[in-house]
């Protein structure tokens, strides 16, 4: 029998290399700040953050799989739990809770009470349309795409915009079956 998949990422989090939380927060802040200067449009910054997150996600999934011993999830519910309890803990040091399932189990919300990205952050009036943590939605989307799940990830609640928590909606669009990659005549 393979070892059971961990229910929480605490043990892994304790073993991986970590950086100082403030350094992490401030570095991320500096990146967002720089993007705002470079791209000017808040919408463009949202897009860019999402793209950066995606690029992180498609690499991060391998580290997640290699270190977490999560081998397969029977359904999307288990996947969501693994992201919330193991994934977020491993890479961000916090856990999320999974709520708001829809009837057919293809869409749910990850709720973050505590978000290390936003310490010391206040949005000025000029950036009201900014999804400051949009990188996270990109990471989740990229990582899930590598395990053949096409998803749509959107922010529902954002504390920087006056809500009471961070809520990320993950919607499963389709699962891509594995295909033989070569054509016959090659």
């Amino acid at each position: 029998m393979p070892p059971a998949a961990p229910r929480s990422g605490d043990a892994i989090f304790a073993n991986v290399e970590r950086v100082n939380a403030e350094l992490f927060t401030l570095t991320y802040g500096a990146i967002v700040r720089q993007l705002l200067t470079d791209l000017e449009e808040v919408e463009e910054v949202n897009k860019q953050l999402d793209q950066m997150g995606y690029n992180i996600g498609i690499r991060l999934i391998d580290e997640f799989l290699a270190k977490s011993n999560v081998s397969r999830c029977v359904d999307f519910k288990e996947t969501a739990e693994a992201i919330a309890k193991v994934g977020f803990k491993m890479f961000l040091g916090v856990t999320a809770s999974v709520t708001n399932w829809d009837a057919d189990g293809t869409s749910c919300s990850l709720v973050l009470e505590d978000n290390p990205l936003v310490d010391f952050v206040e949005l000025p009036d000029t950036c009201q349309g900014l999804y400051y943590c949009n990188i996270l939605s990109g990471v989740v989307r990229g990582a899930l795409e590598m395990v053949s799940m096409k998803t749509e990830v959107t922010w529902i609640r954002d504390m920087l915009r006056g809500d009471d928590a961070y809520e990320l909606q993950v919607k499963l669009l389709k699962q891509v079956p594995e295909e033989y990659p070569y054509k016959d005549d090659e």
Binding site: I58, D62, E63, L65, A66, V70, S71, M146, S148, Y180
Partner: protein, 169 residues
């Protein structure tokens, strides 16, 4: 006079002695069938060119996986043979052995396939393949200069890999 040999139809090839290395070669593929890495330590016989060889290996694994899932007596849910499965669906094999070599196989849910071909007397290599997957993460995935989906060119990774595989029993 004996026509049919002893109990074994053909004896195991002699254990390599010189380097203490009993691995023949290794492949790493991604989901799209791109051979990310090919390492060779001891392969006296080559019949195909490299590209055909990689394709044949990938095709073998792909078909074998589909076959093993189809033959699974414990699982009622199986598609038709050759019909693509979702990743993680169905069972999978982790090694097969012939009288001249043993092939060990690991696939991650993200589609990375690691194949190690060794002497047939080698024991269970599942943990070793997992370790190699971890090396891949540390040396390849975390390298910002590496673009995902392209063949790996990293001397450091090759060296670490060689060292590790040399130490395998």
């Amino acid at each position: 006079m004996q026509f049919f040999g002893g109990s074994e139809i053909s004896p195991l090839p002699p254990l390599p002695t010189a380097s203490g290395n009993n691995a023949h070669m290794m492949y790493v593929f991604n989901r799209n069938g791109v051979c990310l890495l090919y390492r060779e330590w001891n392969r006296p016989l080559r019949t195909l060119n490299a590209q055909q060889d990689h394709k044949l290996m990938f095709g073998l694994l792909f078909s074998l996986k589909s076959l093993t899932a189809k033959m699974d007596p414990t699982n009622a849910e199986k598609g038709n043979l050759g019909v693509p499965q979702l990743p993680g669906q169905g069972c999978s094999f982790h090694s097969f052995r012939t009288n001249t070599y043993k092939l060990s196989f690991m696939e991650s849910p993200s589609g990375i396939k690691i194949i190690l071909v060794t002497h047939p007397g080698t024991g269970d290599l599942r943990e070793s393949l997992k370790y190699i997957y971890n090396l891949y993460v540390e040396y390849v995935v975390k390298n910002p200069l590496y673009s995902p989906g392209t063949p790996i060119r990293s001397e450091l990774f090759d060296k670490t890999l060689d060292q590790y595989v040399r130490g395998l029993g």
